[in-house]
Amino acid sequence: MRDLSSRVVPAVIAGLALAAFPMFGGKFAIDLVTKIMILAIFALSLELLVGQTGLVCFGHAAFLGIAAYTAALLTPQSGPAPLLALLPAAVLAAGGYALAVGALSLRTRGIYFIMVTLAFAQMAYYVFHDTKLGGGSDGIYVYYRPVLSVGDWQPFDLDGGHTFYYFVLVFLAFTFALLGFLVRSRFGRALAGIRVNEQRMRAAGFATYGYKLAAFVLAGMLAGLAGFLYALKDGFVSPELLSWHQSGAVLIMIILGGLGSLRGAVVGAFAFVLLQELFQSEAVFGALAQHWQLTLGFAIIACVALMPDGIVGAGRQFGRRVANLRRLRNA
């Protein structure tokens, strides 16, 4: 079971480190890590499609944004909404849109699939940007975080202390564990087979369309979970959440971290946001910090050129080299 422990132990250590973080970090850092963890859930949901199933979705931000808007629009102006209603509503709204988009776009392949998913996402973007539905381009505020109450008892208050941080961490752990099981199950193996050779899968007897659609809807719902958390984090949702920049950024995260591995998606989310923070910092880059998009772009190009298998792939290679060196020395 060495294989199992080598998979689970790093994840548990990373989880414990994240759980301990609020004891050391300041308010800004805790806020930043909360945002990264939400984006990590978003990246994990896209990894299921791109890294596992081989479906390059370039409109994933739509599911993030639709869930965020659902949470914002269903929260009353006068007080908090019940968590147990708001969370499923947001996730199901994203899942519903994913079902419609997936059912149509999965009839295409390759570059056409990329373009069709982009088109559907831009359509959703303009619905929120150009209509008064969600406050138009100004966006919409969420004044109250939802509450969980069982009778008179409230187990936690999302506004208190570090509760929201841990709330997000639990969902990140849930998403990671769910997908960890999923990719090793028969469903996950079938998705991997579809990625490698869909023609052969059909010849073996797999109706691949249904598999791809199920993966697409699940990925949409998990992206919706991230969108729901995003809306609660800042209490503000704007159409920019659905724009193609956001779809592109999450693609870069999973490529940066390493396609084909779940931890790559999480590592990629951390790397992307931290690099962004670094290049935006005037303390480090002075006047150049204003042009952070340029420097971030160069940094990403350098990373991808130097680590074609992503950060996780580079780490794996480094580990292999160290093991070889040790073996040589012992011989």
Partner: protein, 256 residues
């Protein structure tokens, strides 16, 4: 698996046609493949053999005619549905899952018969039924020793064997094999032919093959195609004696 009588027709195409633009790739073709026999389809390049296979397996739909599998009219069935019903095919080019292990190639193929896509919390590798089917298929094709290698690293001949093993792992009753001997050395061909002769007893086999020595050795029935049409069907000795076949096809190959 229901038993079928030797000689019973398990796969039948009746007057199937398919055109691509103005070209009639398959024109009014009928073939019948019987339990316990090998039915070979031969013909020059471009005679329509691969299109015929694709019509039989449902990778493309016939514009005319019907395909029957185990007594069902499957003309409108999708390829996965025909595969589920017991039709296994191999490809002319190697279409294995190159990054997976040899064993996983077969296990995943076997999974087609026991899909359980809702069992998210059970690892695929712990399914005894599909693992047993995979092991059995690998033993049958002589790849058991290679089970834990990455499929992409196999030799060409071994990849051809793996093609057949993946096909067998799905537990098919009809095998449609597209040039299983392509690019094989003499020794590998010999092993593959022995395997085909062994598989004949429990399957109905449709074989497309260019190696005439092999075709005349293992076949019970031969159909000859030229320009999308069938010009002759019969036992090997009838085909060998057929004057039209000799001029159209065997003559060109040196009548070996």
């Amino acid at each position: 698996m229901p038993e079928s009588r030797a000689g019973e027709v398990l796969l039948r195409a009746s007057r199937v046609s398919r055109s691509f633009g103005g070209l009639k790739a398959v024109d009014d073709v009928s073939v019948a493949v019987r339990q316990g026999t090998v039915h070979a389809v031969i013909g020059t390049n471009g005679a329509g053999k691969s299109t015929l296979i694709n019509l039989l397996c449902g990778e493309i739909q016939a514009s005319q005619g019907t395909v029957e599998l185990l007594g069902h009219d499957v003309s409108r069935w999708s390829q996965p549905r025909r595969a589920q019903a017991g039709l296994g095919r191999s490809y002319q080019r190697n279409t294995i899952y190159a990054p997976f292990t040899v064993f996983e190639n077969c296990r995943l193929s076997a999974q087609a018969r026991l899909q359980r896509p809702w069992a998210w919390f059970t690892p695929a590798s712990s399914c005894a039924t599909t693992c047993a089917a995979a092991s059995h298929a690998l033993e049958r094709t002589g790849l058991a020793a290679q089970a834990h290698l990455i499929a992409g690293t196999l030799s060409h001949g071994q990849k051809r064997q793996l093609e057949i093993a993946m096909c067998l792992a799905t537990g098919p009753r009809v095998l449609v094999l597209d040039e299983p001997l392509a690019g094989m050395g003499a020794e590998e061909s010999e092993r593959m032919l022995a395997l085909l002769e062994g598989l004949k007893a429990e399957h109905a086999i449709l074989l497309v093959e260019h190696d005439m020595g092999a075709v005349f050795r293992v076949s019970d029935e031969i159909t000859v195609m030229v320009n999308g049409r069938v010009i002759a069907t019969g036992a090997p000795e009838e085909i060998r004696a057929n004057a039209e076949v000799q001029t159209a096809y065997l003559g060109e190959e040196g009548a070996n």
